[in-house]
């Protein structure tokens, strides 16, 4: 199965010379690929139709810029259109100024509302607010306990009312927030099906009673074609303001995000990207567009690297690479940076086409392997690290003993090191010129060692 729309389109246009205008037939072939890619990404089929016709309009007769192949040209149009559809600028929470500000979360069962409530409270506290969470899910067994436990973990207060009236609990919660001098409350509600009349009425009544500053709908990134039906129903009954997309740390393309945005017109505000309680990020339309199209999230990766990598170290490393003086010490430094960035696994997931690297998943992205490599390098003397050529049989045996591994492991590492070094030389001589690879260089000349 194809992973990458750019690759697909490159293939469609492979026979084109790259000069002049795109013909109807060329565009037709390209649109078929785009349609399929979007459907595979779970974008709703009606949204796909509209989208494809919009892209077609722009693509037919478009002048192919000199620097781009026709495939790249269409990809650019697709990306631009999709980024715009996903919401141009970054959406932010808006408070009216009333204290406490009120944010209410709604959504289907299992979309991740309770976790999102805790993550949002954590985020708002980081931004200087004093949040309180209100547990209004009186239906799911232990849902209130769950929010309470998360509150304890974060040291953020949770209001749990008595009884079986969610509206009364919500109101009492706001009073409690005022008493505790909290300036923002986040209301967790029960998961409900959009076809459940009674439950939708309850959500509307909570809204009526609290008049929240913002209502956010929580949408699971793995949702399929039906996302639009649910979102549309919630938009009509409780009229939410924006969307939180959850479970984006998996491999779902998240086409549901585009569908929901398109059908309801509501912006996507946050993205849930992990199990930890700080894993709620501002939503970036451009990155999401690339993800839906299977083009990887290179920008996030670079940002992550920038956050964690020590720039001075990187610059020095680049310089050394240029002079091809790569040693085991550098190897170790890189390894540690990789670990700081969340390990190879999380990095690879963000790379374009990483879905194709199936085998890497369990075999080679073994984080413990990184630990072993670290142990081996640390068992080398400074001289050995600087000049691996001196590593003869007895030295290798000593290193293996020191690191608690076999000589075979040491040999493997040395081999990998030499390959990495060779690879880097090639990258240097390629000079970032042609092809997809040349364009993309990890910051600090970093290249995963395996």
């Amino acid at each position: 199965m194809f992973e990458n729309l750019s690759q697909r389109l490159q293939d469609v246009f492979a026979n084109l010379t790259g000069k002049g205008r795109l013909s109807d037939a060329d565009v037709d072939a390209a649109m078929r690929e785009i349609r399929l890619a979007l459907l595979e990404a779970d974008v709703n089929f009606k949204v796909v139709k509209e989208f494809v016709s919009r892209v077609r309009e722009r693509a037919v007769g478009a002048d192919v810029a000199k620097s781009l192949t026709p495939g790249q040209m269409v990809v650019r149009i697709v990306l631009e259109e999709m980024t715009e559809l996903l919401g141009g600028t970054d959406a932010r929470l808006v408070f009216t100024g009333r204290i406490p500000g009120i944010v209410m979360l709604v959504g289907l069962q299992g979309s991740g509302k309770t976790t999102a409530t805790a993550k949002l409270a954590n985020r708002l506290r980081r931004e200087g607010k004093r949040p309180l969470m209100i547990a209004c899910d009186i239906y799911r067994p232990a849902a209130i306990d769950q929010l309470e436990a998360l509150g304890r973990e974060l040291d953020i207060p949770v209001f749990r009312g008595d009884g079986n009236d969610a509206v009364a609990i919500a109101k009492a919660g706001v009073k409690e927030a005022i008493a505790q001098m909290r300036d923002v409350v986040i209301v967790d509600t029960a998961g409900r099906l959009h076809v459940d009349e009674e439950m939708m009425t309850e959500a509307a009544r909570i809204k009526e009673a609290l008049r929240p500053d913002q209502i956010l709908m929580v949408v699971d990134a793995m949702t399929g074609q039906d996302a639009v039906t649910a979102a549309d129903a919630f938009a009509k009954r409780v009229d939410f303001d924006a969307v939180i997309v959850t479970k984006l740390d998996g491999d779902a393309r998240g086409g549901a995000a585009l569908s929901v945005k398109q059908v309801t017109g509501k912006p996507i505000m946050y993205a849930g990207v992990g199990e930890k309680l700080d894993a709620l990020e501002q939503f970036h339309p451009d990155r999401m567009a690339k993800r839906i199209l299977g083009m990887g999230d290179v920008v996030s990766l670079i940002e992550k690297a920038a956050e964690t990598a020590d720039t001075e170290v990187s610059e020095e490393m680049e310089e050394r690479l240029r002079r091809a003086e790569f040693t085991f010490d550098d190897f170790l430094t890189q390894l540690r940076q990789v670990k700081k960035m969340g390990g190879l696994g999380s990095m690879l997931k963000m790379l374009p086409g990483a879905g194709q690297l199936k085998g890497l998943d369990d075999a080679e992205i073994d984080e413990r392997q990184l630990d072993r490599v670290e142990a081996i390098i640390q068992s080398m003397t400074a001289a050995e690290r600087a000049n691996p050529k001196v590593l003869n049989g007895s030295r290798r045996e000593r290193i293996a003993n020191g690191a608690g591994v076999t000589v075979y492991d040491v040999n493997q590492l040395i081999k990998q090191f030499q390959q990495a070094k060779k690879l880097m030389k090639q990258f240097q001589s390629a000079g970032g010129g042609k092809g997809k690879r040349g364009k993309f260089r990890l910051p600090g000349g970093m290249q995963p060692p395996f």
């Binding site: 199965m1 399929l36 595979e40 299992g110 067994p141 309470e148 436990a149």
Partner: protein, 304 residues
Amino acid sequence: MVTPWYKRVSEGLGKSRERLEGQLNVLLRKGPDLDDEFWEDLEDTLVGADIGATAVTEIVDRLRDSAARKALPDAAAVLDHLAAELAEEFPGDAQDPFAVGPVVVLVVGVNGTGKTTTIGKLATEAVRNGRSVLLGSGDTFRAAAVEQLDIWAERAGVPVVRRERGADPAAVAFDTVKQANETRPDLTIIDTAGRLHTSADLMRELQKVQRIAQRESVAPVKSVLVLDATTGQNGLSQAREFHTALDLDALVLTKLDGTARGGIAVAIVRELGVPIVRIGVGEGVDDLKPFVPAEFARALVGRG
């Protein structure tokens, strides 16, 4: 004569059917003309049911072919034919791992599909059928997951083996199986934390849970994936990864009482051959039903 459970299934599936029928009636009204527009609309309808663009193209091509060969007279005949074909995609001799004991069943899946709720319903159902049940609280990660299972166990009146939050789930599996070996319940179900199939570490953790259960258990150990019917194409990736890790014995398809039709199950069964044994059609304790291929397939194409 319609049995009560059947009615509930029909009602549950009915909600999804109503909408689909709205779409398909448009198809049906087109009358005898099976023109290009008909086939295109049918394709859209099936894609809209989450069957997946690639599978749909294949299905519709084949259907077009047999419609011509068998001279199917109209849209209704085509849809009936399609339902019959889809029903055949599901293995007919599916073994329900929850039905024959003693057995230990590991319930797995991504976050939020309804694992704990499904276990609660299964325990209740088994107790009503006069069977003894033991539950293991293997979701030691999510806050209050243990409490959630406790509440279900209390309602059903069955014992639960548990450890504190953050404990090794394999240790919970060990304790549960050990107790099952002594008390010999008909059905032992071990809950596990929801996890994304892309997390290699968490999948390994799950393999360890299975390994320990298999090593210690006197009764056979089965693994069942709980899949949310609202899931799109990612469901295939989920099922594939869980199947690779655990060699799944069966699927449970939940949340069919909404408007989602769970078409991804077709793609999963086609590729992996793992049978669906139960469907969830509501929040009530009685809303977990046996999976009937013909019924599901007819509902899927709006001919239920």
